[in-house]
Symmetry: D2
Subunit: 339 residues, 4 copies
């Protein structure tokens, strides 16, 4: 009963099988292979626009690389105070930007509140030489409290950002979970809602390690800059075909959406189980994450039975379901929870 | 009637005269001159402990250099949300630390509140590889709202920092103003209250450009690291004797305290004048800065008469008095203010 | 007939199979899994000493991370002018160290010549505040001209480095090729010859993407610093078990040495084929790389027939054999070469 | 008899006097003062073109700031192996560029040889993602061996740079010495010979601490970027009027050229004195620096008599004359030298 993180789950068999299929003969290295080209084409179709991309094996790397082409060293990145880039990446954006500043913003359920964004933009102008100007807005969707921004919520924020000449980054480590939760399509949940760059993650949703940084529209002109930084940071994988192969298999026949749907459904069940035993679910369960306020007795019982969950800094308990969370897992949790 | 900043004031004549005295013959460059040695000795006496120091001509540089020897690239600096290092140095600490993170904390009147510090330390532990650990606490005294921390306030904060293995930096751009305001001596307001490094500024208090970074106690072992960074950042002045000369004159016969006293007294008078015409003074006027909420009509009248003040991001008006603020300046302000 | 690079080769079937074996159930993420622990143990045995390690998927990342814990931002890394870290990593060491300097040294066949190292150490002292002191020596073995340093050659260099308080980094992207070429064992070719850190690469020798940074002796104390930087640079893989699994399979039953032996033998054959048609082999062929001076007619004939090789900056042609270079490949090359 | 460096000399009285003249009343801070505006105008006249500028108090800072707007973190700066930016600034360019690489080039008398530049450009192409492309060429004039590049020598180099889309930086720490040595005017020795940015130094030629970074032509568009970096690095002096005042006095009535002429003449005399006692002068004495090969007996005699000179890494002795080197100094040197 491991609900610690979706990174503890194994890879989906189809994705593993794709590695074997890709393991034939010689292939150009560093992203010049046929599978990477095919993937670029495929994602263009899914996102209904031409895209440029680079691949990595780490969501932290993807986020930091994306932000480093949007924000200069003397600029600022606005994000929610709960954002993964602020809380859980050991200062990766600061490192990759060469010392850019992150300004944490407030808002319920880890969603940036438009009025908080507005206040920050008023306090930190674009043309004051003494302070870093806001140059990028970063939004996680699915976000760090397991909630989905709707397209109109996204647009309310990105419109503010764009009218301040800022770039917009979407952290999509759990993008598929947000997609199936919202019922929207990929383009609506990305560039049509203002994203200039989307970090699309497969690692938490069935891959061994596969992440794509997608550039949309005019931001595609930043591809050479992005590749230079990808290389320089050790993220231009010599045998990139194996990353592309994973992601192609993940996208094939909507596997990515099916896996996300499974995880979301399982999370809903986890929430139900916890609610039934008196826990308070503190954020809407839109995706595959559940944040619960447990009483100490319940928490102890779960721990004693080996149920894995994560103690969140605010005192709540985070349970993450994954594509591989089984009905057995859920039944076992229910049994332990109900004591 | 210039109350924009103490950086708009001229230098005190005694300090200018000291440059001429120092301008005789050859002197070793880069801080190896006799005046720098004499200054080190003198400051040791004033602070009642042996100190090591390096000199710069900029408070921003001093703060950033000091922080760069306390906080690694993957660490975090805690400071007040209003701190100059966070708001007004264009990301200098992030640059000098190689991408360290600043975490802004709350508290009334720009003083870090102990409970805010405690909460931050609870949320950001020392041993979590995924997040930057707090490595340095930075406290401005006089602070950015013109308030003085008392020794016991300082100790309450630095004790927390030290029990978390953090270094402690005091931003003393207006240290002399805090000294005369508190009536405490230099040692009590620095290392005896927990400072490992003090950035002692003379530029805002009568010098042309002279700042000292003072290392206390065990932190003195960081001198070579500090010098390497001073050189590398272009702050090891080739003709350092002229910085040392300024600071020696500034300290001589308590000139620094007299100048600070003048500025503080003038600020008290500015506050009185503004209060008399109905303005609200929003922070205690401990030093040489006054923050007033002006009605629009008063603000407009002052501006029209050429009174220089600074619009603060929170909507208030900041008036800064300096050693050179004259009774004529005050009378002229009073006349304009009373309409 | 692809001799462009060993990074164009597929993965060995045993290594692919190990991924499937590892793909069972939940596993702690970020390197806390059982396979990583097993690998640490295994490598300790092979290197005949306790080691600490972190895993990445990129040799560039491994080198840069290793160097970043040996060299401060204001220090210098000495390496050969042909070193991969200097020529082919887009400034990764400069990035990871926060602006450290690389000083390129001379020497035949891409081997640092002891007298060049000595001269550099004389010109760049440890205690001159105005210049970056040499803090790390980096040696590639197998090196960039395909040559192996012998243990005594290594010791002559590392002894100089250590008597100057420098750390020693070995770039072992093709370490296995150097091992089988020299007939020495792993400990002799690493820490017993002065390496503090070895970047051990499997990617070019049969893996999909697997690299280990090994810390020896006192350098093991730098593990937390290394992990902080690994995280911060996006190289702490969330599903690290798949990297460890590859490397365990690679080491099993000396597979790594067998694969390296195959590649070395194939390279020897390539060299023979080219020599037979009049090409000059310009460096000893100790490992799996051949550098040949081709006349234009021969180069053209090879290119026309689709033989992949790399034009080196010095005008020579580089042919790289890999574990998967087959006898058919060699016969086909011979046929084309002999016209 | 101090010939250690021109940084050990005092300031010229006229420049000191200008500080007193500037020390009247309030002035806008951070470079928005009237003197800085006047200086910009004045330099535009002297250089026969509109310029933009920022002021600092350090040549190291000026060089590093200038290079940081020409070279991205993943780019490369080409300079002579003897360049001050490479040898004597503790990695400042690497720091300010965020990890850019310096590639040292050869050439007699510390002048970059065109064929060395050509070879470097051939080996390090603009469009190879795996290596930092050359983005800036840095030329010191007067250079580190005390030699002056002629306009045609400058053009031969800058033409190569520009045809590779590189920016061109001139380190003019001793620009005035090169001017009077060459008899050329300021525009011919800067932008007309290909400089995009000139770091014009007064500190070594009579000022207390005053350096200007001059932007020419299209490079003027980089002013906001340069100012952001100036602020961020602590080099936007709060009381910039005192730097501008120094430089205005320095330029007035050709004082800068007179001082440089004095220093150059004195250096010529030093060279004559040393030659007369059998020393070999190893570089042309174009400016105010003399490099001599001394026999040990002579060196010892000079040292014993308190003659200050600097032991250069190549074994020679460097003697630097300054504006304040007097005939008494020269006579005393002659007396000691002739034994």
């Amino acid at each position: 009963m491991n609900f610690l993180s979706d990174t503890t789950a194994p890879a989906h068999p189809d994705i593993l099988a794709a590695l074997a299929d890709a393991n034939v003969g010689y292939a150009p290295s560093y992203g010049n292979d046929a599978l990477t080209a095919e993937l670029t084409e495929r994602l263009g179709g899914i996102f209904e626009t031409e895209v440029d991309l680079v691949l990595t094996t780490s969501g932290t790397a993807s986020n930091a690389l994306a932000l480093s082409v949007l924000c200069p060293p003397h600029g600022m990145i606005l994000c929610h105070d709960e954002a993964h880039i602020h809380r859980d990446e050991r200062g990766a954006p600061e490192f990759f930007t060469g010392g850019g500043k992150l300004l944490p913003l407030g808002g319920e359920h880890a969603k940036v509140a438009p009025e908080h964004l507005e206040r920050a933009l008023a306090q930190w102008p674009q043309d004051f030489v003494h302070a870093p100007p806001p140059r990028a807005l970063s939004i996680s969707n699915l976000n760090e409290s397991g909630c989905t921004y709707s397209p109109s919520e996204l647009r309310a924020l990105t419109r503010q950002a764009k009218s301040n000449s800022m770039g917009v980054h979407f952290d999509g480590a759990r993008f598929a979970n947000a997609l199936v939760s919202s019922g929207e399509n990929a383009s609506t949940m990305s560039w049509r809602s203002g994203a200039d760059i989307l970090c699309l993650g497969a690692t938490k949703n069935g891959a061994l390690g596969a992440e794509a940084i997608l550039l949309f529209g005019e931001t595609r002109a930043l591809l050479p800059e992005l590749q230079a930084r990808q290389k320089r940071s050790g993220h231009m994988g010599p045998k990139a075909r194996y990353i592309a192969a994973q992601m192609l298999a993940w996208l094939k026949d909507d596997l990515w959406l099916d896996l996300a749907q499974s995880a979301n459904t399982a999370a809903g069940n986890v929430a139900g189980i916890l609610r039934n035993v008196g826990a308070t679910i503190i954020h809407p369960v839109d995706g595959n994450e559940v944040f619960a306020q447990l009483d100490e007795e319940l928490a102890e019982r779960l721990r004693a039975a080996g149920v894995g969950f994560y103690q969140w800094p605010d005192g709540s308990a985070r349970f993450v379901a994954s594509w591989s969370t089984s009905n057995d897992d859920l039944r076992a949790l229910e049994k332990v929870a109900s004591g």
